[in-house]
Structure formats: C-alpha cells, structure tokens
Symmetry: C2
Subunit: 224 residues, 2 copies
DNA sequence: ATACGCTAACGTACTTTGTACGAAGGTGCC
DNA sequence: GGCACCTTCGTACAAAGTACGTTAGCGTAT
C-alpha cells in the first residue's frame, strides 16, 4: 500500500505542487494577497511552513503560478466564429475572473515571464483577431485597447472599498465628509445624484465601454 | 537663531513631513516600491529609521500620500473648453505620470480613501464632462471608460520587462524560447512580424485606443 | 538664571515574514 | 539488514514595521 493512511484516522493527503498552489489560491481568495504568507499557507495545508519549499522554489514562484492559474480561468475566444461576440464573451469572462480574484490584478505588474495559460490566451485572442481580418497592426492596436480596458476596469473595481451593489451609501459617507463644504461640487453632485442611488453597481458600467470599443473596432475593420 | 546650523559644517535641514514624502518619492522612483522601506527612506533622508515616525503615522500613510502626490502631477482638464482636446490632454498627462512613476499603478488598488489631489482631479474631470453636455449617466460611463483605459494601459506598460523602444528583441528571446516549437504560432508570428521590429514602442499604441474612445464618446454625445 | 515642558530625533527591542541549512522519518530495492 | 531516496520538519537568521521610552536642545515663566 502506498497510501499514506494509517490507523485511527485519515492521514492528510500527500503534499503536491498542485495542492500547494490550490491552497495559495484559496488563502488569497479568502483574505487577499496580504494574508498569503508561507506560514498561513502551511496552516491551510495542514503542514509546517518549510514543507512548502520542497514543492516550490520560493514565494515568487507561487505568485507567478497563481497568475497563470487565474489566466487559465478566463474563457478563450473561438477563432473563426464571429469575432465581436467571441471577444465580448472573453472580456466579460476576464472581468468576472478578476473580480473573483481581486488580488490578481496587482500581480500583473510584476513583469515576470508569462506562464503557459497566459501564452495560450494571448495566442488564441490574436488568432481570433487575425482570422477576423485584422491586420497585424490593427491586431496590436485592438489587443492593447481591449486589454487595457479590461485590466483597468478590474483595477478600478479592486480599488473600490466595497463590492457589488451593496450599500454604496455607507462607505461613501466618510468620503463625503472629506469633501468638505463646497469643495468638489461636481463630484458631490454626481455622487448623490447617481453613484449613491440605490441599486447602482459600478460593475454595470463595464458593458457600455466594452460595446463602445467593439463598435469602434468594427468601424476600423471596415475601413482597413 | 532658530537655524539648526552649528559650527564646522552644515547641519542637515530639519525633517518635515514634506521632506519625508519627497524622499519616499525619490526612493520609489529609483528602485521601485520594493526598495522603499522605512530604513532605506531614513538613509535617503540622512536620519535614523524611527525619526520618520515623528512626521508620519506609519508606512501606509506614506503610500497614501504618494498616491496623492502622483495624482497631483496629472494635468487637469479645463472645464468649458473643448472637452475632447481637454480630456485627450489629461489622458496623455496621466499616462506620462504613471510611466514616470511605474510603481504608482500598484498602489491604486489599495482602496484607501482618496486624497485632496485625487478628489480635485475627479471633480474637475466631471465638471469638464458635464459642461460639455454629458448627462450624469453618460458622465459616469465616460469617466469609467476613460480611466479604465488609462489605468489599464499604464498597468500593461508597468508589466513590460523593458521600457520604451529599447531593444525589445533582447528581452523577447527568453520568452520566445518558452513558446516552444509550434505552440502559440499566432503569438510568435505577431511577435516577430510586429512587436520585435526595430523602433516598435508599445507606448505608441496609446493614441489609437484613446482616439477611438473619444470618437465613440462624441458619437454618444450626439445621440444623447 | 533656573526649572519646566515641548519638540524632534533616536536606541532598543519585539513581531512578522521569507527562507537557508541540515536532520529525521519513512519507503522501496538490493 | 543496509542503503538511497523522497518528503517533511526544526532551528535559526535577516529584513522590515513599529511600540515604547529616552535624550538633547530650546523657549518661556518664574
């Protein structure tokens, strides 16, 4: 028997790189990147801190792997099908994934070399654009534009002190106080007449910009 | 004389909150956020670590202040003038500022309460849009769209392992190796036929997307 | 002038974190 | 049984944030 299960109760499953990374993902999702330490990860896995290092070189390797795992969760477009709806679907998926893993957006700037899921992702998006008739130059333009929008939107969502449509008013109050009397009148007007209205959800702003961008790209494609 | 200059050489200027923040800015610009520690900051200022804490509550307060300093460097649009050129100018300024302080984009997700420069900035942009005839709803749409694009573009620039048009080829080689034989064909084709061409600068992609977005907003404004 | 109290800088030390180094326990093969 | 290995862990150190109390210099009231 190679099963590490002995008498009197289930012995914990063997540690693997997979389990280490899944544990790291879980910890980060629960408490953010700041709560992800080797020690907290070890506790999550039910082992001692230094055991992690047998399966992973260092913490940076964990973070790089997390980025690639997150990329892997994003729906890929299907090259050859209608490029607009495919890219639209991919963009929405990316936003959902980045909203699910709020901490991930901060790791993108690390500049580490991209993982396989990241490369696969890039390759598929490029394929979708090229097959739709975009030139190399227009593909680069379109890709930079779409990803800037998606990442930037995710970044702004991550910067919000709340999530979803829940109680914008409560969190806004201390900020409103900072605005003081009469300074920032336009900001206050927008906040009270729009952002703080019940039911407002910043996430809903996503579709407007995305469709505007896709419209613009379609127009550019027609001209090219 | 309240001058802290004594005999035999210039005594260092008194520490102030201003000098602490400028020093932090300087350290971060030189070596990135990672190199900004209380100890490195103290060394930069020529004092001992704990001296910093007389002028600043903690490190987070320093980081928050840095964000606001960076916001303060962005050109404000002028409400009432042609909104397109004003917002265009502001967007370019924002990109330049965020490229000058690559580390700043990572601080935006911290979700801390915005500083005065940040609020002033928001207020002025909103004013520009409202005076141009945008409804409250369209103002929110436009603002979210433009800032997502600007921040996302800056984020992607910060993620690049190099800066400017310098030697994309050199850095690309190890990445190209990762791509392996035959996987990611479209990505390789784009890289060799476009990104790695001499003179290519990712930063040049900015104008395309920005103009596309402004075009789209102008069209939306006409319909509204 | 002397004492008092405030300001600004600092010294010491504790905590958290990443991780180097090597030992310990188990397992399969000869 | 002995040995090589794979995996886990114990110990310990360095870097970093910062709590706490101390000290030197200065202005002001007595």
């Amino acid at each position: 028997m190679s099963e590490p299960v002995s008498e009197g109760g289930q012995r914990r499953a063997r540690l693997t790189r997979e389990r280490v990374l899944q544990g790291a993902l879980s910890v980060a999702d629960s408490g953010g990147l700041g709560s992800l330490t080797i020690r907290s990860l070890a506790k999550e896995l039910g082992v001692k801190p230094m055991s992690v290092y047998y399966h992973v070189a260092n913490k940076d390797e964990i973070l790089d792997a997390l980025v690639d795992i997150v990329f892997g969760e994003i729906d890929l477009p299907v090259p050859g099908r209608d490029w607009r709806s495919e890219l639209r679907r991919r963009a929405h998926s990316a936003r959902q994934v980045l909203a699910r893993h709020r901490w991930a957006i901060g790791l993108l700037e690390s500049g580490s070399s991209p993982g396989p899921a990241n490369l696969r992702h890039h390759d598929t998006v490029i394929a979708t654009l090229r097959e739709a008739g975009f030139s190399a130059e227009m593909t680069a333009h379109a890709y930079a534009l779409i990803d800037s929008y998606v990442y930037g939107f995710a970044l702004q969502e991550a910067a919000l002190p709340f999530e979803g449509p829940e109680s914008v008013g409560e969190v806004a109050e201390p900020i409103m106080e900072l605005m003081g009397a009469g300074e920032y009148p336009h900001l206050v007007e927008m906040a009270t007449s729009y952002y703080m209205q019940p039911g407002y959800d910043f996430g809903d702003e996503f579709v407007f910009g995305l469709d505007l961008i896709l419209d613009g790209l379609e127009r550019s494609l027609g001209l090219g």
